[in-house]
Point group: C2
Chain length 333, copies 2
Protein backbone atom coordinates (compact mmCIF):
# COMPACT_ATOMS: atom_id res chain seq x y z
CA UNK A 1 0.00 0.00 0.00
CA UNK A 2 2.90 2.40 0.58
CA UNK A 3 4.22 1.72 -2.92
CA UNK A 4 2.37 4.66 -4.42
CA UNK A 5 3.65 7.15 -1.84
CA UNK A 6 5.01 10.33 -3.41
CA UNK A 7 8.79 10.66 -3.16
CA UNK A 8 11.21 13.51 -3.70
CA UNK A 9 11.99 11.83 -7.05
CA UNK A 10 8.43 12.46 -8.27
CA UNK A 11 8.64 16.08 -7.17
CA UNK A 12 11.99 16.58 -8.92
CA UNK A 13 10.65 15.01 -12.11
CA UNK A 14 7.53 17.17 -12.18
CA UNK A 15 9.57 20.30 -11.45
CA UNK A 16 12.11 19.33 -14.11
CA UNK A 17 15.10 19.58 -11.79
CA UNK A 18 17.63 17.16 -10.31
CA UNK A 19 16.67 15.28 -7.15
CA UNK A 20 19.43 17.02 -5.20
CA UNK A 21 18.15 20.41 -6.35
CA UNK A 22 14.60 19.55 -5.33
CA UNK A 23 15.81 18.39 -1.95
CA UNK A 24 17.81 21.60 -1.39
CA UNK A 25 14.89 23.76 -2.54
CA UNK A 26 12.47 22.11 -0.13
CA UNK A 27 14.97 21.91 2.73
CA UNK A 28 15.73 25.63 2.67
CA UNK A 29 19.16 24.92 1.16
CA UNK A 30 20.65 27.07 -1.60
CA UNK A 31 18.36 27.40 -4.63
CA UNK A 32 17.19 30.30 -6.76
CA UNK A 33 13.80 31.81 -5.90
CA UNK A 34 12.48 30.61 -9.26
CA UNK A 35 13.64 27.01 -8.68
CA UNK A 36 12.31 27.03 -5.14
CA UNK A 37 8.88 28.16 -6.37
CA UNK A 38 8.83 25.54 -9.13
CA UNK A 39 9.75 22.76 -6.70
CA UNK A 40 7.28 23.94 -4.08
CA UNK A 41 4.49 24.02 -6.66
CA UNK A 42 5.36 20.51 -7.78
CA UNK A 43 5.43 19.30 -4.16
CA UNK A 44 2.06 20.88 -3.56
CA UNK A 45 0.54 19.42 -6.72
CA UNK A 46 1.68 15.95 -5.65
CA UNK A 47 0.71 16.42 -1.99
CA UNK A 48 4.32 15.62 -1.12
CA UNK A 49 5.12 15.65 2.61
CA UNK A 50 8.73 16.74 2.97
CA UNK A 51 9.07 16.81 6.73
CA UNK A 52 10.40 13.61 8.28
CA UNK A 53 8.10 13.82 11.26
CA UNK A 54 5.06 14.52 9.12
CA UNK A 55 6.07 11.57 6.96
CA UNK A 56 6.12 9.40 10.04
CA UNK A 57 2.69 10.66 10.92
CA UNK A 58 1.30 9.52 7.59
CA UNK A 59 2.83 6.07 7.78
CA UNK A 60 2.02 4.99 11.32
CA UNK A 61 -1.18 4.72 13.27
CA UNK A 62 -0.54 8.02 14.98
CA UNK A 63 -1.92 10.22 12.21
CA UNK A 64 -5.44 9.81 13.55
CA UNK A 65 -6.78 12.93 15.23
CA UNK A 66 -10.05 13.54 17.03
CA UNK A 67 -12.41 16.48 16.74
CA UNK A 68 -14.54 16.97 19.81
CA UNK A 69 -17.66 19.09 20.29
CA UNK A 70 -19.35 18.02 23.50
CA UNK A 71 -22.84 19.08 22.54
CA UNK A 72 -25.95 17.15 21.57
CA UNK A 73 -25.29 15.66 18.10
CA UNK A 74 -28.29 17.50 16.73
CA UNK A 75 -26.81 20.81 17.89
CA UNK A 76 -23.40 19.91 16.44
CA UNK A 77 -24.99 19.53 13.01
CA UNK A 78 -27.25 22.57 13.18
CA UNK A 79 -25.15 25.18 14.92
CA UNK A 80 -23.43 27.29 12.26
CA UNK A 81 -20.28 27.84 14.33
CA UNK A 82 -19.69 24.22 15.32
CA UNK A 83 -20.61 22.64 11.99
CA UNK A 84 -18.55 25.29 10.20
CA UNK A 85 -15.49 24.74 12.39
CA UNK A 86 -15.71 20.96 12.13
CA UNK A 87 -16.00 20.88 8.36
CA UNK A 88 -13.12 23.36 8.01
CA UNK A 89 -11.03 21.24 10.38
CA UNK A 90 -11.75 18.15 8.29
CA UNK A 91 -10.39 19.96 5.26
CA UNK A 92 -7.29 21.36 6.93
CA UNK A 93 -6.43 18.06 8.59
CA UNK A 94 -6.67 16.33 5.21
CA UNK A 95 -4.16 18.84 3.78
CA UNK A 96 -1.86 18.01 6.67
CA UNK A 97 -2.16 14.28 5.86
CA UNK A 98 -3.95 13.58 9.11
CA UNK A 99 -7.07 11.43 9.45
CA UNK A 100 -9.74 13.24 11.45
CA UNK A 101 -12.83 11.83 13.05
CA UNK A 102 -15.61 13.54 14.96
CA UNK A 103 -16.39 12.24 18.43
CA UNK A 104 -20.12 11.58 18.64
CA UNK A 105 -20.53 10.39 22.22
CA UNK A 106 -23.23 12.06 24.31
CA UNK A 107 -22.14 15.36 25.89
CA UNK A 108 -22.57 14.08 29.46
CA UNK A 109 -20.70 10.85 28.76
CA UNK A 110 -17.17 11.89 29.77
CA UNK A 111 -16.23 8.27 30.41
CA UNK A 112 -17.30 7.23 26.92
CA UNK A 113 -15.49 10.21 25.45
CA UNK A 114 -12.27 9.16 27.16
CA UNK A 115 -12.68 5.54 26.13
CA UNK A 116 -13.28 6.52 22.51
CA UNK A 117 -10.25 8.82 22.43
CA UNK A 118 -7.93 6.31 24.05
CA UNK A 119 -9.39 3.32 22.23
CA UNK A 120 -9.09 4.98 18.84
CA UNK A 121 -5.42 5.71 19.37
CA UNK A 122 -5.95 9.36 18.39
CA UNK A 123 -2.60 11.16 18.50
CA UNK A 124 -4.27 14.38 19.57
CA UNK A 125 -7.52 16.29 19.53
CA UNK A 126 -9.11 19.59 18.66
CA UNK A 127 -11.86 20.52 21.07
CA UNK A 128 -14.51 22.99 19.98
CA UNK A 129 -15.27 25.16 22.99
CA UNK A 130 -18.01 23.79 25.19
CA UNK A 131 -20.10 24.22 28.28
CA UNK A 132 -17.69 23.61 31.14
CA UNK A 133 -18.19 20.63 33.44
CA UNK A 134 -15.60 19.39 35.90
CA UNK A 135 -16.15 15.79 34.80
CA UNK A 136 -15.33 16.66 31.22
CA UNK A 137 -12.34 18.80 32.20
CA UNK A 138 -11.03 15.83 34.19
CA UNK A 139 -11.51 13.54 31.20
CA UNK A 140 -9.51 15.89 28.96
CA UNK A 141 -6.76 15.93 31.59
CA UNK A 142 -6.78 12.15 31.85
CA UNK A 143 -6.59 11.83 28.05
CA UNK A 144 -3.14 13.36 28.37
CA UNK A 145 -2.35 13.67 24.66
CA UNK A 146 -2.02 17.06 22.92
CA UNK A 147 -5.24 19.02 22.60
CA UNK A 148 -5.92 22.44 21.16
CA UNK A 149 -9.17 24.36 21.63
CA UNK A 150 -11.12 26.32 19.06
CA UNK A 151 -12.71 28.99 21.20
CA UNK A 152 -11.04 29.99 24.45
CA UNK A 153 -11.36 27.15 26.96
CA UNK A 154 -12.71 27.66 30.45
CA UNK A 155 -10.32 29.82 32.51
CA UNK A 156 -9.40 26.86 34.68
CA UNK A 157 -8.21 24.87 31.64
CA UNK A 158 -4.80 25.95 30.44
CA UNK A 159 -4.69 24.50 26.95
CA UNK A 160 -3.48 26.07 23.71
CA UNK A 161 -6.29 27.67 21.73
CA UNK A 162 -7.42 29.54 18.67
CA UNK A 163 -10.08 32.20 18.94
CA UNK A 164 -11.31 35.53 17.64
CA UNK A 165 -10.78 38.50 19.89
CA UNK A 166 -14.24 38.70 21.40
CA UNK A 167 -13.44 41.69 23.62
CA UNK A 168 -12.25 43.71 20.64
CA UNK A 169 -15.33 42.63 18.66
CA UNK A 170 -17.65 43.75 21.43
CA UNK A 171 -15.78 47.04 21.68
CA UNK A 172 -16.08 47.60 17.91
CA UNK A 173 -19.84 47.03 18.12
CA UNK A 174 -20.16 49.64 20.87
CA UNK A 175 -18.05 52.12 18.94
CA UNK A 176 -20.19 51.73 15.82
CA UNK A 177 -23.44 52.21 17.77
CA UNK A 178 -21.98 55.40 19.30
CA UNK A 179 -20.87 56.67 15.90
CA UNK A 180 -24.49 56.33 14.71
CA UNK A 181 -25.78 58.24 17.73
CA UNK A 182 -27.23 55.23 19.54
CA UNK A 183 -27.44 55.76 23.29
CA UNK A 184 -29.44 52.94 24.91
CA UNK A 185 -27.85 49.58 24.18
CA UNK A 186 -29.20 46.15 25.18
CA UNK A 187 -27.25 42.88 24.87
CA UNK A 188 -28.76 39.49 24.05
CA UNK A 189 -25.97 37.24 25.24
CA UNK A 190 -24.79 33.69 24.60
CA UNK A 191 -24.21 31.27 27.50
CA UNK A 192 -22.40 33.33 30.13
CA UNK A 193 -20.87 30.28 31.79
CA UNK A 194 -18.46 30.40 28.83
CA UNK A 195 -15.64 32.91 28.52
CA UNK A 196 -16.38 34.11 25.00
CA UNK A 197 -19.78 35.71 25.73
CA UNK A 198 -18.34 37.33 28.85
CA UNK A 199 -15.61 38.95 26.75
CA UNK A 200 -18.06 40.14 24.09
CA UNK A 201 -20.08 41.87 26.79
CA UNK A 202 -17.01 43.34 28.53
CA UNK A 203 -15.90 44.82 25.20
CA UNK A 204 -19.15 46.63 24.50
CA UNK A 205 -19.54 47.73 28.14
CA UNK A 206 -16.13 49.39 27.99
CA UNK A 207 -16.91 51.01 24.64
CA UNK A 208 -20.24 52.28 25.98
CA UNK A 209 -18.45 53.88 28.93
CA UNK A 210 -15.84 55.40 26.61
CA UNK A 211 -18.35 56.87 24.17
CA UNK A 212 -21.07 57.89 26.61
CA UNK A 213 -23.73 55.27 25.85
CA UNK A 214 -25.77 53.36 28.40
CA UNK A 215 -26.09 49.57 28.68
CA UNK A 216 -29.75 49.34 29.66
CA UNK A 217 -30.10 45.56 29.89
CA UNK A 218 -28.52 42.16 29.25
CA UNK A 219 -30.25 38.80 28.72
CA UNK A 220 -27.96 35.75 28.96
CA UNK A 221 -28.97 32.50 27.25
CA UNK A 222 -27.78 30.44 24.34
CA UNK A 223 -26.71 30.83 20.71
CA UNK A 224 -30.12 30.27 19.11
CA UNK A 225 -32.84 32.04 17.18
CA UNK A 226 -35.35 31.21 19.93
CA UNK A 227 -33.23 32.85 22.60
CA UNK A 228 -32.95 35.93 20.36
CA UNK A 229 -36.73 36.12 20.09
CA UNK A 230 -37.36 35.66 23.81
CA UNK A 231 -34.49 37.91 24.86
CA UNK A 232 -35.69 40.76 22.65
CA UNK A 233 -39.25 40.40 24.01
CA UNK A 234 -37.90 40.67 27.54
CA UNK A 235 -35.91 43.78 26.64
CA UNK A 236 -38.86 45.49 24.93
CA UNK A 237 -41.06 44.86 27.98
CA UNK A 238 -38.59 46.28 30.47
CA UNK A 239 -36.85 48.88 28.29
CA UNK A 240 -39.04 50.03 25.40
CA UNK A 241 -36.63 52.95 24.95
CA UNK A 242 -33.92 50.61 23.59
CA UNK A 243 -32.29 51.95 20.39
CA UNK A 244 -29.50 49.40 19.81
CA UNK A 245 -29.09 45.65 20.34
CA UNK A 246 -25.84 43.71 20.35
CA UNK A 247 -26.58 40.03 19.65
CA UNK A 248 -23.83 37.58 20.59
CA UNK A 249 -24.41 35.56 17.42
CA UNK A 250 -26.06 35.93 14.02
CA UNK A 251 -28.65 33.33 15.04
CA UNK A 252 -29.55 35.38 18.11
CA UNK A 253 -29.77 38.43 15.83
CA UNK A 254 -32.21 36.55 13.58
CA UNK A 255 -34.49 36.05 16.60
CA UNK A 256 -34.08 39.70 17.59
CA UNK A 257 -35.19 40.72 14.07
CA UNK A 258 -38.32 38.56 14.38
CA UNK A 259 -39.42 40.07 17.68
CA UNK A 260 -38.70 43.62 16.49
CA UNK A 261 -40.72 42.95 13.34
CA UNK A 262 -43.65 41.57 15.37
CA UNK A 263 -43.49 44.61 17.65
CA UNK A 264 -43.62 46.93 14.65
CA UNK A 265 -40.09 48.27 15.19
CA UNK A 266 -37.94 48.95 12.13
CA UNK A 267 -34.26 47.95 11.75
CA UNK A 268 -32.25 50.18 11.76
CA UNK A 269 -34.59 53.22 11.91
CA UNK A 270 -35.97 52.41 15.38
CA UNK A 271 -33.42 49.91 16.65
CA UNK A 272 -29.91 49.17 15.35
CA UNK A 273 -28.72 45.57 15.53
CA UNK A 274 -25.19 44.10 15.41
CA UNK A 275 -24.54 40.36 15.36
CA UNK A 276 -21.47 38.15 15.68
CA UNK A 277 -20.20 35.43 13.28
CA UNK A 278 -20.87 36.61 9.71
CA UNK A 279 -22.13 33.19 8.71
CA UNK A 280 -24.69 32.62 5.98
CA UNK A 281 -27.63 33.98 8.00
CA UNK A 282 -26.10 37.45 8.24
CA UNK A 283 -26.42 38.12 4.50
CA UNK A 284 -29.83 36.44 4.20
CA UNK A 285 -31.51 38.59 6.86
CA UNK A 286 -33.43 41.61 5.67
CA UNK A 287 -32.02 44.22 6.16
CA UNK A 288 -28.53 42.69 5.85
CA UNK A 289 -26.98 42.27 9.29
CA UNK A 290 -23.96 44.27 10.35
CA UNK A 291 -21.84 41.78 12.24
CA UNK A 292 -18.38 40.73 13.41
CA UNK A 293 -16.78 38.07 11.25
CA UNK A 294 -15.19 34.92 12.64
CA UNK A 295 -12.66 33.67 10.06
CA UNK A 296 -13.46 29.96 10.38
CA UNK A 297 -11.11 28.65 7.67
CA UNK A 298 -8.17 30.59 9.14
CA UNK A 299 -9.08 29.46 12.65
CA UNK A 300 -9.30 25.81 11.61
CA UNK A 301 -6.02 26.06 9.77
CA UNK A 302 -4.30 27.61 12.77
CA UNK A 303 -5.64 24.94 15.13
CA UNK A 304 -4.50 22.21 12.75
CA UNK A 305 -1.10 23.85 12.35
CA UNK A 306 -0.61 24.14 16.10
CA UNK A 307 -1.49 20.50 16.65
CA UNK A 308 0.75 19.33 13.79
CA UNK A 309 3.68 21.34 15.17
CA UNK A 310 3.14 19.78 18.57
CA UNK A 311 2.94 16.26 17.13
CA UNK A 312 6.02 16.78 14.96
CA UNK A 313 8.30 18.51 17.43
CA UNK A 314 6.96 17.45 20.80
CA UNK A 315 6.44 21.04 21.86
CA UNK A 316 3.89 23.79 21.32
CA UNK A 317 5.39 26.37 18.95
CA UNK A 318 2.33 28.58 19.50
CA UNK A 319 0.20 28.60 22.64
CA UNK A 320 -2.63 30.68 21.21
CA UNK A 321 -3.65 32.37 17.98
CA UNK A 322 -6.15 35.18 18.31
CA UNK A 323 -7.76 36.60 15.18
CA UNK A 324 -9.39 40.03 15.05
CA UNK A 325 -13.18 40.05 14.77
CA UNK A 326 -13.61 42.00 11.55
CA UNK A 327 -16.54 44.43 11.38
CA UNK A 328 -18.73 43.71 8.35
CA UNK A 329 -21.08 46.63 7.79
CA UNK A 330 -24.39 45.94 6.08
CA UNK A 331 -27.67 47.81 6.70
CA UNK A 332 -28.69 47.08 10.29
CA UNK A 333 -27.04 50.01 12.12
CA UNK B 1 -13.35 3.34 36.57
CA UNK B 2 -15.50 0.28 36.30
CA UNK B 3 -16.31 0.51 40.02
CA UNK B 4 -19.47 2.46 39.36
CA UNK B 5 -20.78 0.02 36.74
CA UNK B 6 -24.41 -0.91 37.32
CA UNK B 7 -24.88 -4.51 38.46
CA UNK B 8 -27.88 -6.81 38.72
CA UNK B 9 -27.76 -6.06 42.48
CA UNK B 10 -28.55 -2.38 41.85
CA UNK B 11 -31.42 -3.34 39.57
CA UNK B 12 -32.86 -5.80 42.15
CA UNK B 13 -32.59 -3.17 44.89
CA UNK B 14 -34.35 -0.48 42.87
CA UNK B 15 -37.07 -2.93 41.81
CA UNK B 16 -37.46 -4.14 45.41
CA UNK B 17 -36.96 -7.82 44.54
CA UNK B 18 -34.34 -10.49 45.27
CA UNK B 19 -31.27 -10.63 43.02
CA UNK B 20 -32.30 -14.09 41.80
CA UNK B 21 -35.76 -12.79 40.90
CA UNK B 22 -34.29 -9.84 38.99
CA UNK B 23 -31.96 -12.17 37.14
CA UNK B 24 -34.85 -14.51 36.18
CA UNK B 25 -37.04 -11.59 35.13
CA UNK B 26 -34.38 -10.17 32.84
CA UNK B 27 -33.25 -13.55 31.56
CA UNK B 28 -36.72 -14.58 30.38
CA UNK B 29 -36.95 -17.06 33.27
CA UNK B 30 -40.14 -17.55 35.27
CA UNK B 31 -41.47 -14.31 36.75
CA UNK B 32 -44.88 -12.66 36.92
CA UNK B 33 -45.65 -10.04 34.29
CA UNK B 34 -45.79 -7.42 37.04
CA UNK B 35 -42.37 -8.38 38.44
CA UNK B 36 -40.88 -8.53 34.97
CA UNK B 37 -42.14 -5.01 34.21
CA UNK B 38 -40.84 -3.66 37.52
CA UNK B 39 -37.40 -5.17 36.95
CA UNK B 40 -37.26 -4.04 33.34
CA UNK B 41 -38.15 -0.49 34.36
CA UNK B 42 -35.46 -0.54 37.05
CA UNK B 43 -32.92 -1.89 34.55
CA UNK B 44 -33.88 0.83 32.10
CA UNK B 45 -33.70 3.58 34.72
CA UNK B 46 -30.19 2.47 35.65
CA UNK B 47 -29.08 1.90 32.04
CA UNK B 48 -28.28 -1.68 33.05
CA UNK B 49 -26.94 -3.83 30.21
CA UNK B 50 -28.14 -7.37 30.90
CA UNK B 51 -26.76 -9.13 27.87
CA UNK B 52 -23.33 -10.71 28.40
CA UNK B 53 -22.15 -9.80 24.93
CA UNK B 54 -23.36 -6.23 25.23
CA UNK B 55 -21.63 -6.05 28.60
CA UNK B 56 -18.44 -7.11 26.96
CA UNK B 57 -18.95 -4.45 24.37
CA UNK B 58 -19.13 -1.77 27.03
CA UNK B 59 -16.08 -2.98 28.92
CA UNK B 60 -13.56 -3.63 26.14
CA UNK B 61 -12.18 -1.49 23.38
CA UNK B 62 -14.56 -3.01 20.87
CA UNK B 63 -17.54 -0.79 21.61
CA UNK B 64 -16.21 1.87 19.26
CA UNK B 65 -18.19 2.15 16.03
CA UNK B 66 -17.63 4.30 12.98
CA UNK B 67 -20.12 6.36 11.01
CA UNK B 68 -19.06 6.95 7.44
CA UNK B 69 -20.42 9.40 4.88
CA UNK B 70 -17.94 9.67 2.03
CA UNK B 71 -18.88 13.14 0.90
CA UNK B 72 -17.17 16.51 1.23
CA UNK B 73 -17.31 17.47 4.94
CA UNK B 74 -19.19 20.62 4.05
CA UNK B 75 -21.90 18.55 2.32
CA UNK B 76 -22.06 16.15 5.29
CA UNK B 77 -22.93 19.06 7.56
CA UNK B 78 -25.37 20.81 5.21
CA UNK B 79 -27.25 17.96 3.58
CA UNK B 80 -30.46 17.38 5.55
CA UNK B 81 -30.47 13.61 4.94
CA UNK B 82 -26.85 12.94 5.91
CA UNK B 83 -26.69 15.31 8.88
CA UNK B 84 -30.06 14.00 10.06
CA UNK B 85 -29.03 10.35 9.79
CA UNK B 86 -25.68 10.93 11.49
CA UNK B 87 -27.12 12.78 14.47
CA UNK B 88 -29.85 10.15 14.89
CA UNK B 89 -27.21 7.42 14.73
CA UNK B 90 -25.18 9.16 17.42
CA UNK B 91 -28.22 9.08 19.67
CA UNK B 92 -29.17 5.48 19.00
CA UNK B 93 -25.59 4.23 19.40
CA UNK B 94 -25.39 6.00 22.75
CA UNK B 95 -28.55 4.16 23.89
CA UNK B 96 -26.87 0.90 22.84
CA UNK B 97 -23.80 1.77 24.95
CA UNK B 98 -21.63 2.10 21.88
CA UNK B 99 -19.19 4.94 21.23
CA UNK B 100 -19.69 6.37 17.75
CA UNK B 101 -17.38 8.61 15.77
CA UNK B 102 -17.83 10.20 12.38
CA UNK B 103 -15.13 9.55 9.79
CA UNK B 104 -14.02 12.88 8.37
CA UNK B 105 -11.44 11.83 5.79
CA UNK B 106 -11.76 13.27 2.28
CA UNK B 107 -14.25 11.39 0.06
CA UNK B 108 -11.58 10.35 -2.49
CA UNK B 109 -9.16 9.19 0.23
CA UNK B 110 -10.09 5.50 0.43
CA UNK B 111 -6.66 4.66 1.82
CA UNK B 112 -7.04 7.16 4.64
CA UNK B 113 -10.54 5.92 5.32
CA UNK B 114 -9.27 2.38 5.69
CA UNK B 115 -6.38 3.44 7.89
CA UNK B 116 -8.66 5.43 10.15
CA UNK B 117 -11.13 2.57 10.52
CA UNK B 118 -8.46 -0.02 11.21
CA UNK B 119 -6.33 2.28 13.33
CA UNK B 120 -9.25 3.32 15.50
CA UNK B 121 -10.12 -0.29 16.25
CA UNK B 122 -13.75 0.32 15.31
CA UNK B 123 -15.74 -2.88 15.85
CA UNK B 124 -18.03 -2.07 12.95
CA UNK B 125 -19.38 0.76 10.83
CA UNK B 126 -22.53 2.34 9.50
CA UNK B 127 -22.06 3.73 6.03
CA UNK B 128 -24.43 6.41 4.81
CA UNK B 129 -25.07 5.65 1.15
CA UNK B 130 -22.64 7.29 -1.20
CA UNK B 131 -21.52 7.84 -4.74
CA UNK B 132 -20.07 4.51 -5.79
CA UNK B 133 -16.39 4.21 -6.62
CA UNK B 134 -14.54 0.93 -7.02
CA UNK B 135 -11.67 2.18 -4.85
CA UNK B 136 -14.03 2.89 -1.99
CA UNK B 137 -15.89 -0.41 -2.45
CA UNK B 138 -12.55 -2.21 -2.27
CA UNK B 139 -11.65 -0.34 0.91
CA UNK B 140 -14.92 -1.38 2.57
CA UNK B 141 -14.20 -4.97 1.56
CA UNK B 142 -10.67 -4.77 2.92
CA UNK B 143 -11.95 -3.35 6.22
CA UNK B 144 -13.65 -6.69 6.74
CA UNK B 145 -15.51 -5.87 9.93
CA UNK B 146 -19.34 -5.70 10.05
CA UNK B 147 -20.85 -2.80 8.14
CA UNK B 148 -24.46 -1.82 7.61
CA UNK B 149 -25.63 0.76 5.09
CA UNK B 150 -28.22 3.47 5.54
CA UNK B 151 -29.58 3.82 2.04
CA UNK B 152 -29.36 0.85 -0.32
CA UNK B 153 -25.71 0.27 -1.30
CA UNK B 154 -24.60 -0.01 -4.90
CA UNK B 155 -25.99 -3.21 -6.46
CA UNK B 156 -22.52 -4.74 -6.61
CA UNK B 157 -22.10 -4.37 -2.84
CA UNK B 158 -23.96 -7.02 -0.90
CA UNK B 159 -24.09 -5.54 2.57
CA UNK B 160 -26.99 -5.39 5.02
CA UNK B 161 -28.90 -2.12 4.80
CA UNK B 162 -31.73 0.04 6.03
CA UNK B 163 -33.72 2.13 3.60
CA UNK B 164 -37.12 3.53 2.74
CA UNK B 165 -38.95 1.90 -0.10
CA UNK B 166 -38.08 4.36 -2.84
CA UNK B 167 -39.99 2.47 -5.54
CA UNK B 168 -43.19 2.49 -3.49
CA UNK B 169 -42.64 6.19 -2.71
CA UNK B 170 -42.26 7.01 -6.38
CA UNK B 171 -45.36 4.99 -7.18
CA UNK B 172 -47.38 6.82 -4.51
CA UNK B 173 -46.31 10.17 -6.00
CA UNK B 174 -47.52 9.10 -9.44
CA UNK B 175 -50.80 7.82 -8.04
CA UNK B 176 -51.48 11.11 -6.25
CA UNK B 177 -50.74 13.18 -9.38
CA UNK B 178 -53.16 10.97 -11.34
CA UNK B 179 -55.84 11.33 -8.66
CA UNK B 180 -55.61 15.11 -9.08
CA UNK B 181 -55.95 14.85 -12.86
CA UNK B 182 -52.32 15.62 -13.65
CA UNK B 183 -51.22 14.18 -16.99
CA UNK B 184 -47.78 15.50 -17.94
CA UNK B 185 -45.21 14.63 -15.29
CA UNK B 186 -41.55 15.69 -15.19
CA UNK B 187 -38.94 14.31 -12.77
CA UNK B 188 -36.03 16.26 -11.31
CA UNK B 189 -33.83 13.42 -10.18
CA UNK B 190 -31.03 12.88 -7.69
CA UNK B 191 -27.72 11.32 -8.77
CA UNK B 192 -28.70 8.41 -11.01
CA UNK B 193 -25.43 6.58 -10.43
CA UNK B 194 -27.06 5.64 -7.11
CA UNK B 195 -29.78 3.05 -6.75
CA UNK B 196 -32.21 5.12 -4.70
CA UNK B 197 -32.96 7.75 -7.37
CA UNK B 198 -33.33 4.99 -9.97
CA UNK B 199 -35.97 3.30 -7.82
CA UNK B 200 -37.86 6.55 -7.20
CA UNK B 201 -38.07 7.08 -10.94
CA UNK B 202 -39.06 3.48 -11.67
CA UNK B 203 -41.89 3.77 -9.17
CA UNK B 204 -43.44 6.87 -10.70
CA UNK B 205 -42.89 5.59 -14.25
CA UNK B 206 -44.86 2.44 -13.42
CA UNK B 207 -47.61 4.46 -11.72
CA UNK B 208 -47.82 6.80 -14.72
CA UNK B 209 -48.26 3.82 -17.02
CA UNK B 210 -50.88 2.32 -14.69
CA UNK B 211 -52.94 5.51 -14.38
CA UNK B 212 -52.55 6.85 -17.92
CA UNK B 213 -50.18 9.76 -17.30
CA UNK B 214 -47.15 10.67 -19.39
CA UNK B 215 -43.57 11.14 -18.18
CA UNK B 216 -42.52 14.04 -20.39
CA UNK B 217 -38.97 14.53 -19.13
CA UNK B 218 -36.35 13.65 -16.54
CA UNK B 219 -33.32 15.67 -15.43
CA UNK B 220 -30.73 13.76 -13.37
CA UNK B 221 -28.38 15.63 -11.07
CA UNK B 222 -27.85 15.96 -7.35
CA UNK B 223 -29.82 16.50 -4.15
CA UNK B 224 -29.55 20.28 -4.05
CA UNK B 225 -31.63 23.43 -4.36
CA UNK B 226 -29.45 24.58 -7.26
CA UNK B 227 -30.10 21.40 -9.23
CA UNK B 228 -33.83 21.88 -8.59
CA UNK B 229 -33.67 25.39 -10.04
CA UNK B 230 -31.63 24.41 -13.09
CA UNK B 231 -33.61 21.21 -13.69
CA UNK B 232 -36.94 23.03 -13.61
CA UNK B 233 -35.63 25.68 -16.03
CA UNK B 234 -34.59 22.94 -18.44
CA UNK B 235 -38.01 21.31 -18.19
CA UNK B 236 -39.91 24.56 -18.75
CA UNK B 237 -37.83 25.28 -21.85
CA UNK B 238 -38.39 21.89 -23.43
CA UNK B 239 -41.83 21.05 -22.04
CA UNK B 240 -43.81 24.16 -21.10
CA UNK B 241 -46.93 21.95 -20.97
CA UNK B 242 -45.68 20.28 -17.74
CA UNK B 243 -48.38 20.07 -15.06
CA UNK B 244 -46.65 17.99 -12.36
CA UNK B 245 -43.10 17.67 -11.04
CA UNK B 246 -41.71 14.89 -8.90
CA UNK B 247 -38.58 16.12 -7.10
CA UNK B 248 -36.29 13.44 -5.70
CA UNK B 249 -35.70 15.46 -2.52
CA UNK B 250 -37.24 18.36 -0.64
CA UNK B 251 -34.15 20.45 -1.43
CA UNK B 252 -34.66 19.82 -5.14
CA UNK B 253 -38.33 20.74 -4.69
CA UNK B 254 -37.27 24.05 -3.08
CA UNK B 255 -35.31 24.84 -6.25
CA UNK B 256 -38.26 23.78 -8.42
CA UNK B 257 -40.47 26.21 -6.46
CA UNK B 258 -38.02 29.07 -7.10
CA UNK B 259 -37.92 28.55 -10.85
CA UNK B 260 -41.70 28.14 -11.09
CA UNK B 261 -42.14 31.35 -9.08
CA UNK B 262 -39.73 33.23 -11.37
CA UNK B 263 -41.58 31.88 -14.42
CA UNK B 264 -44.91 33.10 -13.03
CA UNK B 265 -46.29 29.59 -12.58
CA UNK B 266 -48.40 28.89 -9.50
CA UNK B 267 -48.09 25.81 -7.24
CA UNK B 268 -50.33 23.82 -7.36
CA UNK B 269 -52.75 25.64 -9.72
CA UNK B 270 -50.43 25.47 -12.75
CA UNK B 271 -47.94 22.83 -11.67
CA UNK B 272 -48.22 20.26 -8.85
CA UNK B 273 -45.03 19.38 -6.98
CA UNK B 274 -44.17 16.37 -4.80
CA UNK B 275 -40.87 16.08 -2.93
CA UNK B 276 -39.10 13.34 -1.00
CA UNK B 277 -37.76 13.42 2.61
CA UNK B 278 -40.21 15.45 4.72
CA UNK B 279 -37.38 17.25 6.43
CA UNK B 280 -37.66 20.77 7.82
CA UNK B 281 -37.73 22.47 4.41
CA UNK B 282 -40.97 20.74 3.39
CA UNK B 283 -43.06 22.56 5.98
CA UNK B 284 -41.26 25.88 5.53
CA UNK B 285 -41.94 26.10 1.79
CA UNK B 286 -44.93 28.10 0.67
CA UNK B 287 -47.29 26.46 -0.22
CA UNK B 288 -46.42 23.55 2.11
CA UNK B 289 -44.81 20.72 0.16
CA UNK B 290 -46.54 17.39 -0.27
CA UNK B 291 -43.76 14.87 0.12
CA UNK B 292 -42.73 11.33 1.04
CA UNK B 293 -41.40 10.99 4.58
CA UNK B 294 -38.17 9.20 5.43
CA UNK B 295 -38.40 8.11 9.07
CA UNK B 296 -34.80 8.97 10.05
CA UNK B 297 -35.01 8.08 13.76
CA UNK B 298 -36.51 4.66 12.98
CA UNK B 299 -33.94 4.09 10.23
CA UNK B 300 -31.04 5.01 12.53
CA UNK B 301 -32.40 2.78 15.27
CA UNK B 302 -32.77 -0.15 12.89
CA UNK B 303 -29.23 0.27 11.55
CA UNK B 304 -27.88 0.43 15.10
CA UNK B 305 -29.91 -2.60 16.12
CA UNK B 306 -28.70 -4.64 13.17
CA UNK B 307 -25.07 -3.81 13.88
CA UNK B 308 -25.45 -4.54 17.60
CA UNK B 309 -27.04 -7.91 16.85
CA UNK B 310 -24.16 -8.74 14.55
CA UNK B 311 -21.55 -7.69 17.10
CA UNK B 312 -23.24 -9.61 19.89
CA UNK B 313 -24.09 -12.84 18.11
CA UNK B 314 -21.60 -12.96 15.28
CA UNK B 315 -24.37 -13.19 12.71
CA UNK B 316 -26.77 -10.88 10.94
CA UNK B 317 -30.24 -11.41 12.39
CA UNK B 318 -31.67 -9.07 9.78
CA UNK B 319 -30.14 -8.46 6.33
CA UNK B 320 -32.29 -5.46 5.47
CA UNK B 321 -35.00 -3.29 6.94
CA UNK B 322 -37.13 -1.38 4.49
CA UNK B 323 -39.51 1.30 5.75
CA UNK B 324 -42.47 2.56 3.74
CA UNK B 325 -42.17 6.10 2.38
CA UNK B 326 -45.19 7.73 4.00
CA UNK B 327 -47.13 10.25 1.91
CA UNK B 328 -47.46 13.57 3.75
CA UNK B 329 -50.07 15.70 2.01
CA UNK B 330 -49.75 19.47 2.29
CA UNK B 331 -50.78 22.01 -0.35
CA UNK B 332 -48.55 21.47 -3.38
CA UNK B 333 -50.64 18.98 -5.41
Amino acid sequence: MEGDAVTIRDVAKLAGVAVSTASRALGNGSASAKTRLKVQQAAEALHFVPNQAAKQLTSGKSNIVAIVATEEPDFVFHDAFISGVVSQLATSFASAHLLPFLVLTQPHDAKGFLKLLNGSGAAGAVIVSFHYTKTFADAVKEYGKPVVFVGHPHVSMHYPYVDVDSYQGGYAAGELFAKHGRKRIAIVEGPTDMLTPQLRTEGIVDAARQFGCEIIGTVPGEYSIEHGERGMREILEKHPEVDAVFAHSDDIAAGVYRTLHTAGKRVPEDVSVIGFDNFQTAGVLNPGLTTLAQPLPAMAEAATGMLVERLETGEWKRRAVLFPARLVERESV
